[in-house]
Symmetry: C2
């Protein structure tokens, strides 16, 4: 990474010059952004509806691996992770702040790459960068992003609010980001043995992109506005489907039936799981980082979403508090297991 | 730190159980806090005035040293650093979010200590913790805090807005936190040579407390409300007085005269500087982390603040753009130097 190029050490720039340099191309989209980068705090006009705030801390070696994660993609994904949390509340993200810490192995050009990804994310999703902060770290790259958003009070969806008989619906498809990670980890091991080996990732392009450049589901929120749907509850699939289902059931004091055969998967996810001799359902149920939206839809809204290409009904909620069952392809009902976060490994946002 | 006690490894708790455990004692003070910890995002009702947001990333070994910084104090100070940025906008902080990453050398009891300091800060300053996030780190402790606040638009003070002839006023006294750091660093070196040596910090208690447990200047904002003063500009002294003066002058396109003899110092700061064979003015002008407020006060407000024990007039602004001079005790005028942040070392918030 940048080893063979003419690079600029960060020590050549003052810290304030650095923030100016990195953020000068960022536009402002929202009238609620009154004063962005450059003072002790950013100032916003939030006079309409409610304000949402979420934050995530991403640490090299824990949440990402720079040996296969390009910095531009990392910048983009870091923003997506946060925007996804705002969309999961059925709200629109409006502003972000970014704090970056880097060790001295990162030249200016590395930070420029990272910020180009943040910039692209801000432009694609029309979000304003209102606060910036760069500092040193001792060992690697640390990224902390806070996202703010806005929504009318009556539209906001929480993890609670599910009613028995609501439909369990998920956007897009699942397990792709997890299988992409398996492919990248395998290529990393191959590279360690033979650095001259050129990986051919073309066969896995969908899964790898799901891992390296996920998109937050802005389109789903817009679809709900168009269809005049407000889910009874919603959460984003960051830790894995099972784990998120448990959150909805726990916070709403309901149970659910999930149909294994209904779980949406891209054909490449299934074929890659097969190649890795992995049960495809494991990837679909427990693989994280898909950043899809999982929601409880009222039965009376079923006609509105039926057959919609972006949404799949994968089950329904029941009155049995916190009893979550997976109905297998053979019709057996087995307890769903949340393998996502039994251990203290990584983080979840609030 | 915790080595000899019966401790609980974090791996024994699920991540979600951990956040619940650490934050269960936190009260809610503000009606604007609609939904705190426990969903994809926190939800606030900001319907009155403007909203302020600031964020800081604090990293072990860069921003703090756990060999002399007790975890409870660290939690407290991490909140203060952020609240200070909100007060510097002449606004009231209302909510914070905290993201913590720790390596596995930290048991549960260490995080409890850290959160007890965050809790105390929230209670003392009436701020709501609305978002929590814990994750792993590879090497040490990382703390990211975002603070939000509220103020009426016409009361918010920026770094720009200074008028020539405005008075340069600072709260409290300066250089104490810097001298406290020198004392603590010296004791650390002594301890390395002789671990049985019991440091006697009583002689330096004021300076050490300024370093380990600073207070954000809520009282100054309340004083301004009482005196009906709105400064033309304000900034907090986190990086050092000189550096902050340059920020005000640059953003307001003015110059200033600062009187060395007027700089407020606690007697202990001066005597400790003397003991360290250090020019006391260096500590006052360039020592950071005092978290005092530095402001431009209109001349017509001078009578209101004259002789007030919390405020000291240390100079005045001039029309000479970005020309900042220090008037020494001997009456000489020399260019002020901002030594605080010439190098890319640590961070500044926005």
């Amino acid at each position: 990474m940048f080893e063979n190029k003419n690079t600029t050490p960060l020590s050549e720039l003052g810290e304030f010059g650095l923030i100016d340099h990195l953020t000068k191309t960022f536009p402002v989209f929202h009238p609620s952004t009154y004063k962005g980068i450059g003072d002790d705090a950013a100032v916003m006009n939030f006079t309409d509806g409610q304000t949402l705030v979420t934050t995530d801390l991403l640490i090299e070696g824990i949440h990402f691996d720079l040996s296969y994660m390009p910095l531009k993609h990392l910048g983009y994904k870091s923003v997506m992770v946060n925007l996804s949390d705002i969309y999961a509340m059925n709200a629109h993200p409006t502003q972000i702040t970014t704090s970056i810490a880097v060790s001295n192995r990162f030249p200016l050009e590395a930070l420029e790459e990272l910020y180009s990804g943040i910039d692209l994310a801000c432009k694609n999703y029309k979000v304003d960068l209102v606060g910036g902060d760069t500092s040193s770290s001792k060992t690697g790259l640390i990224i902390s992003i806070t996202a703010m958003g806005q929504a009318q009070k009556e539209k906001i969806t929480y993890r609670y609010g599910v009613k028995p008989n609501d439909l369990l619906v998920v956007s897009g498809d699942l397990g792709g980001a997890f299988m992409g990670l398996q492919v990248l980890e395998r290529e990393k091991e191959v590279f360690k043995v033979n650095p001259n080996n050129q990986p051919d990732l073309a066969l896995y392009s969908y899964c790898v992109e799901r891992q390296l450049k996920p998109e937050a589901r802005k389109d789903i929120i817009e679809l709900f506005e168009e269809l005049e749907i407000i889910p009874n509850a919603m959460i984003d699939v960051s830790d894995g489907l099972s784990s998120e289902i448990f959150h909805l059931c726990k916070d709403s004091q309901v149970g659910c039936h999930v149909y294994e055969e209904k779980l949406p998967a891209d054909p490449q996810t299934s074929s890659t799981a097969e190649e890795f001799k992995m049960n495809s359902s494991t990837a679909l149920l427990n693989g994280g980082e898909d950043y899809e939206l999982l929601m409880a839809i009222k039965t009376e809204d079923y006609e509105k979403i039926k057959g919609h290409p972006l949404l799949t009904t994968i089950g329904h909620f029941t009155e049995q508090k916190e009893v979550c069952n997976l109905i297998t392809g053979l019709g057996q009902s087995i307890p769903l297991e949340a393998q996502g976060w039994k251990n203290f490994k990584s983080g979840a946002s609030t």
